[in-house]
């Protein structure tokens, strides 16, 4: 196991440098003065130009600029927005809210998705199975912002079950509706994956064996079928997390959740490119780390994976 952890961490290093380097290149390898391009229509003051040039070390050659920038990011110096706010402060203020929202969404998507997928898979071809296939198909084809507006309009405005936008302090009760929206797409994927996996696992000999030994359904389903069906679902959490990040940007913007995604949403609307780049870099770093963490978890769940390669 220790070798598996070490190998996986080592594999993460090139991905970490590569992905941050690509984002950095997208901003600075394009023709023209990157600082002026960041301002778009506006004319920056000389101080702003000087500040950005200093922040991105524009007097240095390209590669050393990248390492200087990465050094700044790793030391937690993410620069400032146009308005002069520190990106660090913004992230420190908004990250806890996003973390709570994401946590709620993951709990919803795994709880409901796995349970519904298990029921659908065990009763393949039944009413519940067919209904869940149709509903997930509809959810998958709805872009997250359409889903968010439908939920906001229906539950927030028409039925009045929830507040259409999140109130100050973002209490858990207000976060529930955005979390359901955020969980929606992944829930559909988790459900379908669990269902397919449960059907496949149920056809295995060890399941027939377990029933043959006289074990009850109450023992076979959770211990033999569900546990073995969870492996593909776990691996997919990593991919789900990417959807979650993008979804959080849209959902937080629509429900006005004071989180990181909302900051990114506002930064995009303000054309605040330095802030966009800082936030996206942080999100990508988080994504890479989460991927590594999930791979490690995968190794814990499935001993075979530790010995491959």
């Amino acid at each position: 196991m220790i070798w598996y952890i070490i190998r996986r961490l080592l594999q993460g290093i090139p991905v970490f440098f590569g992905s941050t380097f690509i984002i950095f290149s997208m901003v600075f390898a394009m023709p023209g003065n990157p600082v002026l391009r960041m301002f778009g229509d506006r004319t920056p003051s000389p101080e702003q130009i000087a500040a950005l040039e200093a922040k991105f070390h524009l007097d240095q050659p390209f590669l050393s600029r990248y390492f200087l920038y990465l050094g700044d990011v790793l030391q937690g110096n993410l620069g400032t927005t146009y308005a002069g706010q520190s990106v660090n402060e913004i992230l420190a203020r908004t990250f806890p809210t996003t973390l709570r929202l994401a946590l709620l969404a993951v709990v919803i998507q795994l709880g409901i998705g796995v349970l519904a997928g298990l029921i659908a898979g065990l009763r393949k071809g039944g009413v519940f199975d067919n209904a869940s296939l149709v509903i997930t198909l509809l959810i998958i084809s709805m872009p997250v912002f359409v889903f968010a507006f439908v939920a906001q309009w229906l539950f927030g405005i028409q039925l009045g079950w929830a507040r259409p936008t999140v109130g100050p302090g973002a209490p858990w009760s207000d976060l529930l509706l955005p979390a359901i929206v955020l969980a929606g797409l992944n829930l559909a994927y988790v459900l379908r994956l669990t269902r397919a996996s449960v059907i496949e696992t149920s056809q295995n000999d060890f399941v027939r064996m377990a029933y043959g030994k006289g074990l009850t359904r109450g023992r076979v389903i959770p211990v033999h079928i569900l546990r073995n069906s969870m492996i593909p679902v776990t691996t997919n959490i990593a991919a789900d997390f990417g959807i979650l990040i993008v979804g959080a940007t849209v959902t937080e913007g629509i429900f006005n959740v004071p989180g990181v995604g909302n900051e990114l949403f506002k930064a995009i609307n303000r054309h605040d490119t330095p802030e966009i780049v800082s936030i996206v870099t942080i999100l990508v770093i988080v994504y890479v780390l989460v991927n590594i963490a999930i791979d490690l978890l995968y190794g814990v769940l499935d001993p075979r994976i530790r010995y491959v390669k």
Partner: protein, 336 residues
């Protein structure tokens, strides 16, 4: 058993083999229908109602995209008025002078009402079809080409090239492609067009296609006909392009159909976020939905109809993708 036989045979415990039956199985039935993966898939597809529904919707969408003029004669962007000012306009719209057109409900000739800017919702939806579809197709073709070429080279040639290409793929895969597109698009403030947005989406979406093709190529290159092709002297490139690739392409077709839906969603999401196509030049459903969000309470029609158009298009391609997957991948069929 004959008593004349001097050798004592061991008693047989198995039934006599029916040679006639086996011979019939082995014989090549020339008169039978031709069959291969694609023919089988087509026969399977033909019998599915979901395939026909999605095919009809997609053909309709393509028709709307190519000939928007057939469905509406109202220009999507010009002649947008906030309120009726003159007598001529009053006659044109059939309402008294001074009526607010902005966010107004349906009027004769304008079946879905008006946006906040006073543009015709129906016309904007019809003219937005082309944008969504072009971005979807360009991204899909781009991703398929990049994925196929890189995946095939990595899988077929193996070795350091494989490791190198797959590590590059890991790096691109580590960046959620919409986030990458947000950064790219925010660097292009003035010269955004369909090609730029398609490149921005497609440039980070190829690794999954490449991975899938690579694993399929790894399977196919073990097969006998590849060895035979190399044995008769075809070059590695020739073998790869004429024998390995056509036989490993099926999973790419599946992922591309669903990917087209993903690309349309991505374009709408980028437009919704405000880093999509410029609102005044391109009709884009994402833009319209984004512009309508402030009128959610007062004029839900401005938001609902473009959302329906968008969701229906995505739904059609996802349904097509699912039926194609079931037809091409017997393993997926088994879990249905």
């Amino acid at each position: 058993m004959s008593s004349k036989n001097p050798v004592r045979r061991a008693p047989r415990f198995v039934a006599e083999v029916d040679e006639g039956g086996l011979g019939a199985v082995d014989a090549v039935r020339v008169s039978d229908r031709k069959s291969n993966l694609w023919l089988d898939a087509w026969r399977d597809l033909r019998s599915r109602w979901m395939f026909w529904i999605s095919a009809v919707i997609i053909l309709f969408i393509v028709f709307v995209a190519i000939f928007p003029g057939v469905f509406t004669s109202v220009p999507p962007n010009d002649n947008c008025i906030l309120s009726v000012q003159t007598q001529a306009q009053a006659e044109e719209f059939g309402v008294p002078v001074g009526t607010r057109i902005s966010n107004h409900g349906p009027l004769p000739g304008h079946p879905l009402g008006f946006t906040k800017q006073g543009c015709d919702v129906f016309s904007r939806i019809v003219h937005g079809t082309g944008t969504s579809l072009s971005v979807g197709i360009i991204v899909t073709v781009l991703v398929a080409i990049m994925g196929i070429v890189l995946g095939a080279f990595a899988g077929y040639f193996g070795g350091w090239l494989d490791s190198f290409l797959m590590r590059i793929g890991d790096i691109f895969f580590a960046i959620p492609y919409i986030l990458a597109a947000v950064v790219i698009m925010s660097m292009f403030l003035h010269d955004r067009n369909i090609w730029i947005i398609s490149l921005a989406i497609g440039f980070f979406a190829w690794p999954s296609t490449a991975r899938i093709l690579r694993s399929e190529v790894l399977r196919v290159k073990q097969l006998d006909f590849v060895t035979a092709s190399e044995a008769i002297g075809l070059s590695k490139f020739r073998t790869m392009f004429t024998h390995v690739m056509p036989n490993s392409i099926a999973p790419v077709i599946i992922i591309s159909t669903v990917g087209l839906a993903g690309a349309i969603t991505a374009e709408a999401t980028l437009s919704f976020l405000g880093v999509g196509l410029p609102n005044n030049i391109f009709m884009s459903w994402g833009n319209d939905i984004s512009a309508a969000q402030t009128s959610l309470r007062t004029a839900p029609q401005t938001l609902i109809y473009p959302s329906i158009a968008l969701s229906l298009t995505v739904l059609a391609f996802i349904m097509l993708g699912e039926t194609v997957r079931d037809a091409l991948d017997p393993k997926a069929r088994a879990t249905r």
